[in-house]
């Protein structure tokens, strides 16, 4: 992966240069955006509900046992907003959407469709990469907003219904409001935007550099997902440490 970092950065730079073309490609952006949202929203909600629930289940009883009952809402709220929603959703999107991007662009490369675009003076970055990266960069933060809300709801339900906690719904959210601020939510959303760019650029890069036949496409898909996840985890630390932890 790291031998390709230079190429990935170069592709990112080309996408930045192509950004003024976004309006021209708005139809494709909209199609990609709809595809990402449509394919992922239900899965995001289901996953987030259980993540919220399991965090409440893990942290709630020990906190209640030590008389920190009013910290449960805040701990669950912070964990979901700052870390779990952005990272887990980015990983989910890397698996569902990043893999599809790498496969589609990869097969276009293998079957000379990208060469055909070039012969028609159609820039593959503008035509294929830009709409996908823009769409995922808008869609993932929106999905993360859903994820945070559903995750909180899942945490609150478990905290309310679990015998070891029995924290009423209203109290859970009231405690959460004391600790979790809008700034925390914004930090989580910003992270998810960065992760979306990583998934989009890495997946499109893998697609564009695909060689060989169907086997090459399979290899590109695997690399796109694995490399995206590795970079998400690394950048999660970097963003948290240097940008958000002031």
């Amino acid at each position: 992966m790291f031998e390709n970092i230079g190429d990935i950065v170069l592709l990112f730079w080309r996408i930045l240069l192509a950004l003024p073309q976004t309006w021209r490609q708005r139809q494709k952006v909209y199609e990609q955006f709809f595809e990402i949202g449509n394919a992922s929203l239900l899965m995001v909600c289901m996953l987030s509900f259980f993540i919220g629930g399991v965090i409440a289940l893990n942290f709630g009883p020990p906190l209640v046992e030590r008389s920190f009952t009013n910290a449960v809402g805040g701990v669950v709220g912070l964990a979901i907003a700052l870390e779990l929603a952005p990272v887990m959703m980015a990983i989910l999107i890397a698996g569902r959407i990043g893999s599809a991007m790498a496969a589609e662009i990869g097969s276009m490369r293998v079957y000379q469709e990208i060469d055909a675009l070039r012969t028609m003076n159609i820039n593959p970055i503008n035509y294929l990469v830009l709409p996908r990266v823009v769409a995922i960069s808008v869609a993932l933060p929106l999905l993360v907003v859903f994820s945070i809300l559903v995750g909180w709801f899942g945490g609150a339900m478990v905290a309310d219904m679990n015998n070891h906690m029995e924290i009423p719904f209203k109290a859970f959210f009231s405690d959460m409001r004391d600790i979790v601020t809008m700034k925390d939510v914004a930090k989580g959303i910003f992270k998810s935007f960065c992760f979306a760019v990583i998934v989009g650029v890495v997946s499109c890069h893998q697609g564009l550099t695909t060689i060989g036949g169907p086997r090459g496409i399979g290899r590109s898909v695997t690399k796109a997902v694995v490399n995206s996840i590795v970079l998400i985890v690394i950048f999660d630390y970097i963003i948290t440490r240097f940008l958000l932890n002031e």
Binding site: Q112, E113, D115, A116, L117, M120, N121, I122
Partner: protein, 259 residues
Amino acid sequence: MNSPTNSPNTQNGEAGGVSLVVRDLHKSFGGQKVLDGINFEVQPGEIFVIMGPSGSGKSVLLKHLIGLEKPDAGEILINGQSINTPEIAAKYRMALVFQSGALLNSLSVGDNVGLYLAEHRLKPASEIQQIVTEKLTDVGLKDALDKMPSELSGGMKKRVAIARALVIEPQLILYDEPTSELDPLSSVVIGNEILNLKHRIHVTSLVVSHDRDLAFGVADRIAVIAEGKILTIGTPEEVKNFKDPLVQNFLHADFKREV
């Protein structure tokens, strides 16, 4: 290679076919020489066929001509101007018909054919629709407008690819193995289409093929290439009579049936 500034029907490029000169072209991949000093000239409006066995460097040569590959050495001139000069793309219209057709599988036949015009916003949608229908009618595929490429046969895909190339109103059209994987009837249809274009729009055509029937049926001149080198160039008659054993082997290779 084609520029949106040199749009079809705007006529700011030169009309009719262009001349093509290839001088001392060299290309290697990982130490293996694929093109080893290729030289030839194609006149405006001429059908020039490059023949040779598989792996002789024909398709790589074609990719150089359309700018998809950069040569290690040598130059390619269109109407006397190097294809590496920035203004060449704005001045001349060139199209490549890929061996596989290379249609975009996610688009319908109509969208594929109209892609160049739509993407460069050269015409309003209604006019694009009209041009697409016209070009598909030219290649006998008017009814395929709304079909997806996956619903087409190999021959139909190639004809759609030709229609897509025609939308550009090319001055130079390059064909990569246009009759490979086609039955004899479809091959004849494609061959006739290449001839029609020469007479109708005086386009310069460069055909890369190992199909002897096609080559001798459509070519004004033929070049035979083997192992990255051109063995001979001439009219079909001259090439047929060329005494080089490699050329004769290629032209007359046949099955040996024991009786």
